[in-house]
């Protein structure tokens, strides 16, 4: 469906994208994952032919993207924007028309989406009256209303409350069910973990990891435990069989040294913590990323995790 090969983009002195290659297959959800400034948006813009790569190739079904192909693609840019003075419905109809959709079809599709997100009443309101979250939803509709066969979402969850994030996640899963190829970028590993079939983990413009999510997790071992508890768990990182710990006040993820068993940890914490949940898991993407890159992908709430790693 979409094949990106050895793409390079340099801005003045910064190599934003440094030889990335990946493929998004028909009807899958593909995650482009990495910290801020990893080159995700630049990659997506190059796929959209908004900026040209310095070298490398981007192909849709084996062909270069032509202007007429743009109607098959839906794009949600990282920087959202709608004409503020227009009405919600008109704005969306305009965007759909530019994608070649006929007005009655566009109206029906837009109506269904507005309904789905519970903002049908806002159809005749001015865009400038929308709250940030609603604006995001409207923009999302703008990228899918014309029934594209592939959608590119750049940080689709940023600025949305958890409820709206869930709405969006389920909308993306539904798109996939309808056979749409979904490619999205995020720096929040949880989102990727929930819905991606395959991922490309990037850092500083380069590939860190690439492949099916399940396989990635497999490759990086199953020797981890997630623990929910009440009490003080600082002692855990000093246990002899513990490799690393990602710690939050009431939740930790512990990676065990090779040859150790989750059972050992269970015995060590029993009695010292009030354990609410104890689960042997494949390490989270977050954990894998931290281990491979050496820092947290999520600048805002990842600082604690990074500290835990060094400790």
């Amino acid at each position: 469906m979409l094949k990106v090969e050895q793409v390079v983009k340099t801005y003045e002195t910064v190599r934003a994208v440094d030889g990335l290659s990946f493929e998004a297959r028909p009807g899958e959800i593909f995650g482009l994952i990495g910290p801020n400034g990893a080159g995700k948006s630049t990659t997506i813009r190059m796929i959209m032919n908004i900026i040209a790569p310095d070298s490398g190739s981007i192909r849709f079904d084996g062909k270069r993207l032509s202007e007429s192909d743009k109607s098959r693609i839906g794009y949600l840019p990282e920087e959202r924007g709608l004409y503020k003075k227009s009405r919600v419905g008109e704005s969306l109809e305009y965007l759909a028309a530019l994608k070649g959709m006929r007005l009655p079809d566009a109206r029906a599709s837009i109506g269904a989406w507005l309904e789905r997100f519970g903002i049908a009443d806002w159809r005749d309101r001015k865009v400038s009256e929308l709250s940030k979250g609603m604006g995001q939803k409207v923009q999302f509709i703008g990228s899918v209303a014309h029934k594209p066969s592939i959608v590119l979402f750049d940080e689709p969850f940023s600025g949305l409350d958890p409820l709206a994030q869930d709405e969006l996640l389920s909308a993306m899963v539904e798109l996939k069910k309808d056979g749409v190829t979904v490619l999205f970028s995020t720096h929040v590993m949880d989102h990727a973990e929930k819905i991606c079939e395959r991922i490309l983990l990037v850092n500083k413009g380069r590939e860190v990891l690439y492949g099916p999510l399940a396989e990635v997790k497999e490759r990086h071992g199953r020797n981890a435990v997630q623990l929910e508890f009440d009490g003080d768990a600082t002692f855990v990182k000093d246990l002899p069989f513990v490799e690393t710990v990602v710690a939050y006040p009431r939740w930790i993820e512990v990676e065990l040294k090779e040859g150790s068993e989750p059972d050992q940890l269970f015995r060590a914490v029993a009695g010292r913590l009030r354990v609410r949940r104890f689960e042997a898991v494949a390490p989270s993407l977050h954990k894998i990323f931290v281990r491979l890159v050496g820092r947290s992908p999520d600048e805002t709430n990842g600082a604690g995790a990074g500290e835990a790693l060094r400790a």
Binding site: R45, E67, P77, E79, G81, L82, Y83, S86, L98, G100
Partner: protein, 411 residues
């Protein structure tokens, strides 16, 4: 083409379905009339200037007050004779009298004639007073000298003098000072309309492009259309709005000339002719495309509207210079300077329009001016679309004009 048409329609609606646009379209002709014709009209008409207030007169010379009253009466200004200088001056000061004329005893040989004014700049009022008193003084002196008044009047009578304008087919048309003033007003109004609309539309395009950047709509747009379609869509959409506006104005002007003029016996200036209105529209279109392409490119290169203002000053200069020099173009439409500036593309629309209105420029100059303009429009559009493509995605950098022009060289 379909996408371009969609953008044109969208931009047209955004521009035209706008209160400011509707108001300007309706009020435009009145505004232009107000800034060009009315002040001159008021300044040249004592009745309009006195605003219905009387002029106070106290005279120690018999007949002077009567002569002034007769002359002012003819101009529609009332005269009130007074012998209380304090009250008359107070009336001037509080605005209840338009002026206070004092003719002292012994005038015109030993006494003075005085005009008290509140502002000191109401030249029309005191010039007409001066003229009336000068004529009256002449009568007094003739009477005192014992010469036959009829003889003197015969000597001083005006000698016939006529100005004739030769038409291309050898026709002759009588011209007066009023005709000149009329030509001046009409040309001035037309040039003002052209200047204001080109500037307004240019800045609207620039602002609309900057908004596209600052509101971040540009990326969504570029995921569907090319940067070229976006730019020309905006220009054509707004151009269509401009055409609509001109359509309304020209219809109003023509209705005035063809219907209201004859029906109410109004003296509509002859230079408001369909032909001249056609020239106005033609030069508007040429200037619009030239300047709006340039503004679109600069808008794309700007960080915000303030930055756009800084970048656009050379464009403004090309529009303002002809406007400042407008009276010299009107008085000598075929001078070397007028000719040169009417052919140089950036100033051609304004200057050539003046020349066409007040003179009859040679066909080759007209052809040269218009074909150069057409070529410049094409060149500017090409240059602009290249700058636009680079600039529209550029953020966080306040580019200088030189840099921006170099973007056009990017293949």
């Amino acid at each position: 083409m379909r996408k371009l048409a969609l953008i044109v329609r969208h931009e047209f609606r955004m521009a035209a379905a706008n209160k400011a646009f509707v108001i300007l379209t309706i009020l435009g002709p009145f505004l232009i009339l107000a800034v060009t014709v009315l002040p001159t009209f008021v300044a040249n008409n004592p009745a309009a200037m006195s605003g219905g207030r009387p002029v106070a007169v106290s005279s120690a010379v018999p007949g002077a007050a009567e002569a002034l009253a007769a002359a002012y009466g003819g101009m529609g200004v009332e005269v009130s004779v007074t012998d209380d200088p304090q009250a008359a001056k107070a009336a001037v000061l509080d605005g209840s009298a338009a002026g206070y004329v004092v003719v002292e005893a012994g005038w015109p040989d030993s006494g003075r004639a005085l005009f008290y004014s509140k502002t000191g700049v109401d030249a029309t009022m005191y010039a007409s007073t001066q003229a009336v008193l000068a004529a009256f003084a002449r009568e007094l002196r003739i009477g005192a000298s014992g010469i036959d008044p009829e003889l003197v009047r015969g000597i001083l009578a005006d000698a016939p003098f006529e100005v004739l304008k030769i038409g291309p087919e050898g026709s002759e048309e009588s011209k007066t000072q009023d005709d000149f003033m009329e030509a001046l007003f009409v040309s001035l109004s037309f040039v003002m309309v052209l200047y204001m609309t080109v500037l307004l539309y240019g800045q609207m395009i620039g602002a609309s492009v900057v908004r596209e950047k600052t509101s971040k709509t540009v990326e969504v747009m570029l995921s569907s259309v090319t940067s070229r379609e976006l730019m020309f869509g905006k220009i054509l959409g707004l151009g269509l709005a401009g055409l609509l506006q001109y359509g309304v104005w020209i219809s109003v002007a023509l209705a005035l000339v063809k219907l209201a003029g004859p029906a109410f016996d109004l003296a509509v200036p002859a230079s408001i002719s369909p032909e001249n209105l056609g020239w106005l529209l033609a030069f508007f279109l040429l200037a619009f495309f030239l300047y709006s392409s340039a503004y679109a490119a600069l808008g794309a290169a700007s960080e915000d509207e303030h930055h756009l203002g800084q970048l656009a000053w050379p464009l403004l200069l090309f529009l303002i210079v002809p406007l400042v020099m407008v009276s010299s173009f009107i008085m000598s439409p075929d001078s070397g300077l007028s000719t040169a500036l009417s052919i140089f593309p950036m100033t051609a629309p304004l200057v050539m329009l003046i020349r066409v209105l007040v003179s009859d420029p040679p066909a080759w100059q007209l052809a040269a001016s218009i074909s150069l303009l057409l070529a410049s429009v094409a060149g500017m559009a090409l240059l602009a679309s290249k700058i636009f493509r680079t600039g529209i995605l550029m953020t966080g950098k306040r580019a200088k004009l030189g840099e921006i022009v170099r973007w056009a060289a990017v293949k």
